[in-house]
């Protein structure tokens, strides 16, 4: 293992501290919690949007804290949900009197800890609601879509919910906006190599030289197919094809696309993938309204990428287009 770290047990905490030091114009650390909130939190009268989950996916989730996106984010240790207490502390730090929406990827650890935090907040009179993000097509068949896990599509859901909250939506309205964004988002990934968890120091799975795994999750969960690595064009087309099969109504409509790097894949390769995905979407009559290419939801130093597509309707369009000022997304 070769990593630029100090202490394997302090990776999550020190990374978050560095982020807060680098971007004080957007966010600040919360005392006594491994969490960040937008610098002017709480915003009076606004619904607080709280994201979070295990660390190791930077810039997800803390990098999307700031005006127009999440009001706060709680970071667990590497690939582990944060405990309930820091979630409660962060929720209070962003509570402007209109309630707090929890937004996180659908993993059992996150569900248990965020649900317990919601109970604790309810006892203190703070209203919460929850949207679990389920964009990963590979993780369960369509008929069990509510069991799917959340991957890079988190980005679209946080963007939409943050914009709705910024436009003074009520807790019910912001929750509905997040649910709608989640229903319209699909993702599919491919892994080329494993990552190494700092505290254990070993790769989390074996992937032979020259092989790829389509549909592998952000923590090495097995995907739908292991095969020989193909060209960028072929891989991009397979990812888009699987998304189109899952959401056929995407064809001939408006969409936003995110080509997301998993950590070790160069931006040049992501653009090559984007190029192929773009061509295939155009062939299917999709009008791309917004494009995002880069490392948005990583898996430490895993190589590979994912493609996320958000099917846009008239409600979602202005929310996605709305401005945002965060460390990992500045949109004017």
């Amino acid at each position: 293992m070769k990593k630029l770290i100090n202490d394997p047990r302090k990776v999550a905490a020190e990374a978050l501290e560095g982020l807060a030091l680098a971007y004080p114009q957007y966010l600040r650390l919360v005392p006594n919690a491994q969490a960040v909130v937008r610098k002017d939190a709480p915003v009076a009268g606004k619904v607080g949007v709280l994201s979070g989950g295990g660390s190791g996916h930077e810039p997800m989730f803390a990098g999307f804290v700031g005006a127009g996106m999440a009001d706060g984010s709680v970071a667990g240790n590497i690939f582990a949900s944060p405990p309930p207490q820091p979630i409660v502390t962060a929720a209070k730090a962003i509570h402007g009197g209109a309630g707090v929406l929890f937004l996180y990827g659908n993993y059992s650890g996150d569900v248990l800890n965020f649900d317990m935090a919601a109970e604790m907040l309810e006892e203190e009179g703070i209203r919460t609601s929850t949207v679990r993000i389920t964009d990963d097509v590979a993780s369960a068949p369509p008929e069990r879509h509510e069991e799917r896990r959340g991957i890079a599509g988190d980005f679209f859901v946080i963007k939409v919910a943050g914009a709705c909250a910024a436009r003074e939506g009520s807790l019910a309205e912001v929750t509905a906006a997040a649910e709608e964004a989640n229903r319209h988002t699909r993702s599919m990934g491919v892994a080329l190599s494993s990552c190494i968890i700092p505290a254990s120091g070993t790769p989390i799975f074996d992937l032979a030289e020259g092989d790829m795994e389509v549909g592998m999750g952000l923590h090495g969960e097995p995907g739908v197919e292991r095969a020989r690595l193909k060209s960028a064009n072929e891989v991009a087309e397979e990812l888009v094809r699987r998304i189109l099969e899952d959401m056929p109504e995407l064809a001939n409509g408006d969409a936003a696309i995110l080509v997301n790097g998993l950590g070790a894949t160069p931006l040049a390769e992501l653009f090559i993938v984007f190029r192929a995905a773009h061509a295939m979407l155009v062939r299917h009559g999709v009008t791309i309204r917004h494009s995002y290419v880069g490392n948005y939801a990583t898996s430490l130093e895993m190589a590979g990428c994912s493609i996320s597509l958000l099917r846009l309707n008239e409600r979602l369009k202005p929310w996605l287009a709305a401005p945002a000022q965060t460390p990992a997304l500045v949109q004017i």
Binding site: G54, P83, G109, R149, F205, P222
Partner: protein, 222 residues
């Protein structure tokens, strides 16, 4: 002569001893987890028990049995995160509730403790025996005691019985498919490897037995 009753002070010592055993087995638990997950179960368990050890060191020496269990659960829950943090934290706290007002843990109280743990884990994780989770080991241990009329036996005998049953149950999870959690997406890839959570629980009970029956272990310092 093995210890026949665990009072509050002894309970703290025993938990510290269990923490040491979990830390000693960390790499092994990580390796089991790597077969079905991201390979950090040992790390998480060690961190959780370190949080318990730290909390116990801060407690008033007069803290009673039930409060020690509640505080331990609270410390584990706050110290780790992940699903196991909530499951283990609530489990230990449920044990505190079940032993409310109890001065010493003997065989009947130990059975109460195991039963409360089984109820708690089943409710928190929404799991049942056979789902390939920590519950399989807890259920195995509790059932073995219920079946053997354990309350009339000596403490070391019942802890030994429960530890053996938990280990057997943990081993049998190697033949089970996973229904819940991240590993549930693995299908048959988990077969052949015992569940790390169930294995951890078996290690905890075996460590408790080792501590009860070992004169040097009884001297464990806080």
């Amino acid at each position: 002569m093995a210890l026949q009753a665990i009072d509050a002070r002894r309970l703290s010592q025993m938990l510290v001893f269990v923490a040491g055993e979990i830390a000693r087995r960390e790499a092994e638990l990580n390796a089991l987890d790597a077969a079905a997950g991201d390979g950090d179960h040992g790390i998480t368990m060690r961190i959780g028990f370190e949080a318990i050890r730290e909390r116990l060191g801060q407690l008033d020496p007069a803290t009673p049995v039930d409060a020690i269990l509640r505080e331990s659960g609270n410390a584990f829950l706050g110290g780790t995160g992940g699903a196991i943090g909530v499951v283990m934290g609530k489990m230990l706290m449920a044990g505190g509730k079940a032993l409310q007002g109890v001065q010493e843990i003997r065989a009947p109280e130990f059975l109460l403790l195991l039963n409360s743990w089984e109820t708690s884990v089943s409710a928190t994780g929404k799991v049942k025996p056979g789902d390939r989770t920590i519950l399989d080991a807890i259920h195995g241990a509790a059932s073995a005691l219920t079946a053997s009329d354990a309350t009339k036996k000596d403490l070391d005998v019942v802890v030994d019985l429960s530890a053996a049953a938990a280990q057997e149950a943990a081993r049998s999870t190697a033949d089970m498919l996973c229904r819940v959690g991240r590993a549930s997406r693995l299908g048959t890839r988990v077969l052949g490897h015992p569940d790390p959570g169930a294995t951890s629980f078996a290690i905890m009970l075996r460590a408790m037995h080792d501590w009860i029956t070992s004169p040097t272990a009884l001297d464990t310092q806080l």
